[in-house]
Symmetry: C2
DNA sequence: TGTTTATAGTGCGATATCGTACTAAATGGA
DNA sequence: TCCATTTAGTACGATATCGCACTATAAACA
């Protein structure tokens, strides 16, 4: 009997998803409390993603990156546009599509938010140093990559 | 200069929260796709929590456990009650409060959902074995505990 | 004991997110 | 080239979540 037909103890997956759910809630609350009124984690997430080498991404690419419905991304981008943080221009490669570009104001919004978080992260660092996070981060990333792949396969 | 005044590289925290956000989205989608129509991750989360030794918790305790607003928990419990999955009874120890009790139907809903997830988790196990999750899970839990504590201290 | 303050739960309005359905453009095949 | 199918984005309605305000009860305390 080959290894991969052995039954596994699946409880670690349950525990992992539970922990992740709580960390996500806490992290979102931390961030949102430090954003200007009316701006949300989703807005920060998009500007941050664009600023990290994905400027000019399409709305659909952004929706996939964050694993949200494309209608949700339309809504989020609308908010960012209203604040002047992104510009949507036609996609020259595809008439159905658009490309999202970060404005200077958008970059500033993102950088400000990062700065606002730093004191909190310093506090975390006193109790849970960053290299301890670095120790398990590759594993967590790999896990994310695997389930990301599986999700795509589920169509 | 003592260690804890040294400046740290905080990027692992950012990366961690980003990964956690995506894992949470994917995990929620996985679960929700396997729940009966009209029932959500929040409903599963509460029944699962109750069944794991917290039966009789108060709504506020549940809101804190999941880090959601107490009005959100009121809403979630309303849905569970409508489906007959929980019962809310007065809290004999506190006239302002209630206690939430899982019904047999609620326990079955939870167990069914777990069963529906098993094939998927087996698939994950083929590509990312559970003991690899177990390897970093304690670190992740500890991280969660630390930020949980910090959140409480933020008032 | 009476009064002030804090806490548990809910009603309500605002909005973020999602699923469905639609339009327009691209793609693939006859 | 024409038509069927797929894909990108959006409009719309449903609902999950949140913040604020309110009521009832408990706790603190003069």
């Amino acid at each position: 009997m080959p290894d991969d037909t052995l039954s596994h103890d699946l409880t670690p997956y349950f525990s992992m998803f539970v922990e992740v759910g709580i960390i996500n809630q806490i992290g979102s609350a931390f961030l949102e409390a430090r954003l200007p009124k009316g701006l949300l984690v989703s807005h920060f997430g998009v500007t941050s993603h664009l600023s990290r080498g994905f400027d000019g991404a399409t709305p659909l690419e952004l929706a996939r990156a964050f694993q949200v419905a494309k209608t949700t991304m339309t809504h989020t981008l609308g908010g960012l546009e209203k604040h002047g943080f992104v510009e949507l221009r036609p996609n020259p490669d595809d008439g159905r599509s658009k490309r999202v570009w970060l404005t200077p104001a958008g970059r500033e919004f993102r950088d400000d938010a990062v700065r606002q978080l730093e004191p909190l992260f310093q506090k975390i660092a006193e109790r849970f140093p960053p290299d301890q996070v670095s120790a398990f981060l590759p594993g967590v990333s790999e896990f994310r990559a695997v389930i990301d792949q599986l999700r795509d396969e589920e169509k």
